[in-house]
Every structure is written in structure tokens, then in C-alpha cells.
């Protein structure tokens, strides 16, 4: 499939860099400013306010989990890894932490623009995908509820197909999802549990 790249609006976007003062930072800032971004440099910790940036650059050579105000794998913004050492341990850390694009050090005259485009596209695709997976998981988890709701309705003298159709009609009338309607049917037909008895 041919993907048409959506070019993000980079004029006035904010980039946060977590890297000790270094020529790499100078080269990075120059490229970012030439493209039209505003840049904030941080070291050694990333303030919570960095969540509000549009892009984050991290130094894989020196980074560790405690520098970041979020758990590994949960970066709330597109993240670009600056890789110097290719020692497997560092790459392993990066795989756990997660990055959407990478630039090899030393950073010279180019590479930042393409990294920004790739990071934004990858981040957006990843977030869309994980949203989709969450929704599918939820529906999968509710499958049993649907079966029970259909059984409840069928027990009132309908065929399974009729019960299924009735559930669909209810969902539409209530303007809720099929699974949510099933949840309501099951809740209405289940007597409240006596918690004491289950724990004898």
C-alpha cells in the first residue's frame, strides 16, 4: 500500500532535547530552528512541562528511566533517539523505552527533518493502533456478556436469532453499543450477590 505522508505543521512547533550541553545539541538546535521549531534544552532531568512539547529528542548513550516523568513505553509525544554507542545494552534500553525515529551521532548537517516526519507518522500510527486494539480487547472481553444476554432473552420464549435481533434493536433504541446493551440485560436479570456467602 502506498502511504501518503501527512506533513505535520512544524512552524512554531516545540522540540524538547534531553542531552548534556554538547556539540550534538548545537547541531540539533541549528537544524530545528532552520526548520522553524522552537527548542528547549533540558539536563539532567526532563521537567513535567516537557509533556507539552511536540517532539522529544533523547540521548540514548546516557539516558535512564528515572530521567523521565513517565514509565518506559508510555512517552506521550513522538520521541527521537540520538544514538552514539551501539552497545546492545543501550539498544535494549531503547527498545524498552520506545522511540519513533532515530538519528546516529555525531549529528551533522542533516537528518533532523526526516526524523521529525517519521517520528510523527510512527507515533500517530502507534497511538491509533493501540486505541483500536483496546477497543477490540474490550469487545472481546464482553463476548461472554453478549452470550448471556442472548440466552436471557431467548429464555423468554424466543429463538436465538430473534433474541439476537431484539438485543440489536435495544442497543439502537438506547443509543449504546451492542455490548453495552448486553451488559444492561445481564445486570437486570442477575439478582444481587450475597457477598458473605461466597467467602463462607
Amino acid at each position: 500500500m502506498r502511504r501518503r505522508l501527512r506533513i505535520p505543521d512544524l512552524g512554531g512547533a516545540r522540540a524538547a532535547i534531553l542531552h548534556r550541553p554538547h556539540a550534538t545539541v548545537t547541531a540539533l538546535v541549528r537544524q530545528l530552528q532552520a526548520i522553524g521549531l522552537e527548542v528547549d534544552c533540558h539536563w539532567p532531568d526532563l521537567p513535567v512541562s516537557a509533556r507539552g512539547a511536540d517532539y522529544l529528542f533523547i540521548d540514548v548513550d546516557t539516558a535512564y528511566d528515572e530521567q523521565f516523568p513517565w514509565p518506559p513505553g508510555e512517552a506521550p509525544l513522538p520521541t527521537i533517539a540520538l544514538i552514539g554507542s551501539e552497545a546492545p545494552g543501550r539498544i535494549e534500553w531503547l527498545m524498552t523505552f520506545g522511540a519513533d525515529a532515530q538519528i546516529l551521532k555525531p549529528v551533522g548537517d542533516g537528518g533532523v527533518y526526516s526524523a521529525l516526519l517519521i517520528a510523527r507518522a510512527t507515533f500517530d500510527a502507534r497511538r491509533e493502533l493501540s486505541g483500536e486494539i483496546d477497543a477490540l480487547r474490550r469487545r472481546l472481553g464482553q463476548r461472554q456478556t453478549v452470550v448471556r444476554a442472548v440466552a436471557t432473552l431467548a429464555a423468554r420464549g424466543k429463538t436465538e436469532d430473534q433474541a439476537y435481533e431484539q438485543l440489536r434493536a435495544m442497543a439502537m433504541a438506547w443509543r449504546v453499543s451492542f455490548e453495552e446493551a448486553a451488559d444492561r440485560i445481564v445486570a437486570a436479570s442477575t439478582p444481587p450477590k450475597d457477598e458473605g456467602s461466597t467467602h463462607g
Binding site: 512544524l10 547541531a27 532552520a34 522553524g36 542533516g110
Partner: protein, 366 residues
């Protein structure tokens, strides 16, 4: 005391695009002569010249040869984007800088390069604004199969689609190919409002011949309907195109008979094309940055451009691009006649600045 400063010149004197590179070279040498004859400047330039002969693989070694074999830190040169990208590693290794005086497709801001001709916000965008208003927004895109054509047409598609336009067709030719019949047939069938042509050299000449022929036999294409557009045709290629160029609409920072020429020409206007003017402006601006500052010829480009006098000449320390006027002109009776002109605009290589409505700023030429 006058300082004699070595200055690299790296243009192809033969090959498929030599009309263009010769124009740039002529402008650069014109400026060298002017600087050397100017007693008010405390510098003179000694040209150190190499000729890549249109061979893309010759640029990097010859650029390195200039920087290694002479005192030159600045090179005026390159015509295609491909050759420009080839010399960047040599510039980095040898601590050199390139002044690039040719229109290009943008999306670059090398710390080693000064871009002294137009980028898309100074050619393609105003050209599309003009043509959408005057002819419609149904486009046919064509070009030579390399970065210039691909990227310019991608941009045209993006901008056109955003403006509610439509791309009816898009087709490319290998560099140097003159097999244009399929493209022309498709255009004859599709009847677009305009053709955006990013072909270069002989491909473009053959294409314009075939379109001129189409205009003779197909009424839809007669009387200036469905114009062919270009972002890099200047006066220097008109003799090679002859009558086939009639009606072609091109965008650039300057066309002959517009006053003044480029800001970097400092009042001089005796140029054959904007390519020659930009070659001249490159050397003149460099001379002004080096004058009255002994030792400045060894400064990194970033520091040279950081001087207030660089900004006054329209050179941006942030993007290394140049503030340039915008003009749209049409070939009539063998010469470009301006249709619209606009005040100088900053180069915006990544198109990230708020885009001022270029059209409203363009002045209609009566």
C-alpha cells in the same frame, strides 16, 4: 591593504544543463571582475575554477580539489540538487562553504551552503496561486525522473488538493529522454487547465515542441488555453527552445527588463537571466561580508552570516536562504513579459512560516 582571496568556481561548461550552469558562471565571473576593479573594497578575488562537465560524480572530488589545493574556503557552484548534495560531505571534511545560485525544490538548510536563488515559496507557490486564479485548478504534472520533478510535483499536488484542485495525471521521463509522445497524448485526452512542467534540458525542449504542435491541431489548446508552467526556465534557455517556448509561463526572482534586479546585485541589471543575476549576487554578497574584516575569510559560514550586514542583504542566518522578489512572466515573441511581480519574500525552505497570501501581494503588470 588589499587582501587577495581565493574563490572556488564549480560549474559545468558542457553536458545537458550547460546553458544554465554557464549563465551562473558568467554571473559569478562578472562579479569577480567588478569586485577586483572596485577600489572601495579591500579585497580581490582570485578564481580557482574546476569543470565537472555535467558529470555528477565529478563534483565532490573537484570541490575537494579546490578546497585542498588553494586557500579557497568559499565555492560558488552546482546547478542540480543532486550535485549539491554530493559536495556537502566534501565541504564538511574540508571546512568549506558553497554558494548555490540555482532554483531548487527546498527542504534543505545546510550549515555549509548559502542558497541564493529561489525555493518553492518564492517560485512554485506564487506561480500556482496565479494559475489557479487565472486558468483553474485541474492540473497535469510532469517532470524529469529525479528529485526536482518529484518533489515539486508532490508539493503542487498537496497545495492544489488543499485549494480544492485536482490532479488529472502525473507522468515522468528519464533524464535526457525525448520520448514525450505518451505524455502529450495523455494531456490531449485529459484537457487540464494547465500543465506543470518540471522537465529539464532536452526533454523539456522536445515537450514544448510537441505541445506547440498540439496547439496547432487541437482547438482546446489554441489561443493560450492550458498554459505550460515552469519554475526554472529563464531567458538563457529561450534560444534553445525557439518558437516552441511561446506562451510558457515561468516564475523566478527576476526577468529581464524588471527593475531593479536582485538585492545582491546592488543596482546592476546587465544580466541575461536570473541565473546570471544570482551568480553575480552570490559573489557580491560574499565580497561585502568579507570586506573590511581581515581574517573573515577563515570564519565559519554561520558566523559570517551572523553579521548584521548579512541580514541587511537579505541573507538569513537561520535558514541560509535569501530574501528575493517574486515575478511571474510569459514568453511572448521570444522574450519574457512580466505578468505579476511581488515584493521580496524570505526564503522558507521547509514551508513552515505563516504563508502570506502571495497573490494579494503580487502586482498586476499592465
Amino acid at each position: 591593504m588589499t587582501r587577495e582571496i581565493d574563490l572556488g568556481i564549480l560549474f559545468s561548461r558542457s553536458g545537458t544543463y550547460s546553458l544554465i550552469s554557464e549563465a551562473s558562471r558568467a554571473g559569478a565571473l562578472k562579479a569577480v571582475a567588478q569586485v577586483n576593479a572596485d577600489p572601495s573594497l579591500d579585497i580581490t578575488f582570485r578564481p580557482v575554477e574546476r569543470d565537472p562537465k555535467g558529470n555528477v560524480d565529478a563534483y565532490a572530488p573537484l570541490c575537494e580539489e579546490i578546497l585542498q589545493g588553494s586557500g579557497a574556503r568559499h565555492v560558488i557552484g552546482c546547478t542540480t540538487s543532486w550535485s549539491r548534495k554530493e559536495v556537502i560531505p566534501a565541504l564538511e571534511r574540508m571546512d568549506g562553504a558553497l554558494w548555490y545560485p540555482t532554483p531548487y525544490e527546498g527542504f534543505e538548510a545546510s550549515d555549509r551552503i548559502v542558497y541564493t536563488h529561489a525555493s518553492p515559496n518564492q517560485h512554485l507557490l506564487p506561480l500556482l496561486d496565479y494559475v489557479f486564479a487565472e486558468f483553474g485548478a485541474r492540473a497535469y504534472l510532469t517532470g524529469s525522473n529525479y528529485i526536482w520533478g518529484w518533489e515539486m510535483n508532490r508539493l503542487a499536488r498537496e497545495i492544489g488538493t488543499r485549494a480544492g484542485g485536482e490532479v488529472l495525471g502525473e507522468r515522468y521521463l528519464p533524464l535526457g529522454s525525448i520520448e514525450i509522445s505518451r505524455i502529450v497524448e495523455e494531456i490531449a485526452d485529459l484537457r487540464p487547465d494547465f500543465v506543470l512542467n518540471q522537465l529539464i534540458g532536452p526533454s523539456q525542449y522536445a515537450f514544448l515542441e510537441a505541445i506547440a504542435d498540439l496547439r496547432q491541431r487541437a482547438p482546446y489548446f489554441a489561443a493560450g488555453n492550458c498554459p505550460v508552467l515552469s519554475c526554472n526556465v529563464t531567458e538563457c534557455e529561450l534560444p534553445a527552445m525557439g518558437a516552441a517556448a511561446e506562451g510558457l509561463i515561468s516564475a523566478g526572482p527576476w526577468f529581464r527588463n524588471l527593475h531593479p534586479a536582485l538585492p545582491g546585485n546592488f543596482g546592476r541589471e546587465d544580466f541575461g537571466s536570473s541565473l546570471e543575476a544570482a551568480g553575480h549576487a552570490s559573489v557580491m554578497m560574499l565580497a561585502r561580508l568579507l570586506a573590511d574584516a581581515p581574517g573573515s575569510e577563515a570564519l565559519p559560514l554561520s558566523e559570517l552570516l551572523d553579521q548584521p550586514r548579512a541580514a541587511r542583504m537579505g541573507l538569513s542566518a537561520r535558514t541560509h536562504h535569501t530574501r528575493l522578489p517574486v515575478a511571474i512572466a510569459q514568453v511572448r515573441n521570444g522574450a519574457f513579459v512580466p505578468l505579476r511581480t511581488g515584493a521580496p519574500v524570505e526564503g522558507d525552505p521547509y514551508l513552515t512560516r505563516e504563508r502570506e497570501a502571495a497573490l494579494t501581494k503580487l502586482r498586476v503588470i499592465k
